[in-house]
Amino acid sequence: MQPKGVEILLVEDNANDAELTLRALKQRNLANQVFLCHDGAEAMEFFADGASPVPKVVLLDLKLPKVDGLEVLRRLKNDNRTKTIPIVVLTSSREEPDIERAYALGANSYIVKPVDFDAFARAVSDVGLYWLLLNHPPQ
């Protein structure tokens, strides 16, 4: 079952990170319409049938079981129906090749998750605020 108005699609295999992310979004009242996928395959399923609501932003981890984050990114950006959805890569990796590949595939943003919880919470809520409230997607 999928909720009607999905605004944020969070793709994150680490339950702890997912909980911390949701908590950070919740503190800004952005957590109501978040849909969580635990791996890349689930994320692809979410978009598989055209009936699913289009999220305002996808928060995508790179290191995922089954289908990894970069592959998800590539498929979404190559699909006409989904290529306009903003995708924010939210990952622990600070490695240059990842950053370059993500942008090359069309990522809209690349955020390294800080270890420091305060910094982490700030980064997540800023991303949420920006893409949900400030950004104007094409209609």
Partner: protein, 586 residues
Amino acid sequence: MMRSIQRTFPLFVTALLLAVAIVQLTIGYGEVRQASRSVTDTRLRFVDSVLVDLFQSGQQRGRVTALAKDSDVVAFLRSGGQRGREQALAALRRITLDTASNARLELRDFSGRLLLSTGRFAFGDSVLVSPGTDSARFGPLQRRDTVLFFGVAAATIGTERSGSGERSGGIVQQVARLQLNERTRRFLTGLSGGDMAFLFGNAAGDPWTDFASIVSAPPANVRNSPRPTRYERGEAQRAIAMAVPGTPWMVATEVPTRLIVAPAQAYLLTMAPFAALIVIIGTLAAWWGSRRLTAPLVGVTQAAEAIATGDLTQRVPVGRDDELGKLARSFNTMAEQVSRSHHHLEAQVAQRTKALEGTNAELESFSYSVSHDLRAPLRAIHGFARILLEDHHAQLDPEAQRLLGVIDQNTRRMGQLIDDLLAFSRLGRTDLATGPVDMKELTQLVADEVQRTEAGRNGSLEIRIDPLPAARGDRGLLRQVMSNLLLNAAKFTRDRPSAKIEVGSQADGGQTVYYVKDNGAGFDARYADKLFGVFQRLHSTEQFDGTGVGLAIVKRIVQRHGGRVWAEGAVNQGATFYFTLPGEER
């Protein structure tokens, strides 16, 4: 220019042959000239002595002596020319039938008065020579205008002195004129073979004649020398002069030295072309020989140069059976071995490179895992500890809250350590983007940044930057070096009321030594080598924060640029960090 046997050897041979030819020609010339001179000298002596004999003129002397003994002549002279004039004249005519213009016979008394004479020749109106008593005496050659003549005189024999002391009798004198004409001269010269000239004159000096005209006397050294002597008369002459015995005369024979050296010159003219021919043939032979000798060497050299530039397929043709052929064979064997070991080496390098690439890939994936997998649990620990503190603050007693604070602190530190370690490991793998770097401008940028970071510190912080020469390197990495060193200096001067950091440079050979000097806490010089190790710290975390990676990063970056790092310092007396970088090429 390169020294080349092919050029040097023929040159050497040519020079040698030239030297030999010149020495040979010089010696030959000298010897021929010497021989010619010696032959000439013998001829001069011989011819001159023949001439001397000719001029002894025994006949003339005999005639005059005979006249002085003639009874009619003696009677005429004793009578003082008073009696027997006809008989005396007949006696004179008996002896000298010819009354030609060249000779004249005179009868004079002792005072020199002319009593009787025959012949038309009329020079010398006096006694020309003191008369001989036993035989006639020759007088010296005399000159009047263009005429040369001499006297031959004898006194009558059996002269008796009269009571008054006056001598009776008189003098018989013949005055002879020397016939000077070109014919005589040429005749005499012809007798000698045509190359010699003859001179006749007084041993005492002028006048002299060459039998055609009157000439000046040869110089005294010629007249006095018993050997042929050289002198100038018109041209250089070699001459010998001999006295005519019984007369005051001298006969000289001379030959131009030009004629003496002529055979030597002829020798030169004949031999020089031969010598030149020998030199030319020798040169050509040497040139041909050296080419033949060096051509195979040139082949080997060219092949060696080709191999040196990387063309390992080059070989030398082996067309000979001598040492050069052996050299070519050895060279080819060597080239074969070089080629083989080169291929072997290339294969090895390729293999190692592949292995290294594998290791590098492993290292990369390891770093990736560390980056990703170590940070996630750490973030969870930190995150949930914070949630505990924030959401369950009320249920926690102060000790629990303190312990959670410790967890918070250590997870932050762990995160920092992981970040630094990853940064350090990345340094070894990324390529350098090398270019010219304005070190002064870069340092100023970093210094401004450090001043902003340190805005909250207690004391003052002064960063002085001397003019710095440009460097060649990766600007981003060099900026990190400067940043780490300045931040370090700022950190260790934090407890100083007026901190001073100085950035400067000094030249050291082709490199530039840059240094960052501070007046901070310094360090124990005994541990200076530990400063640049990863996670090595000389101060406790309580004293100065940091993970101990900053200087290790500095060292790695400088080393990757081909430079060195070192530090000097003492506890509480500040520290100076040095690093060298290659200069910017111009």
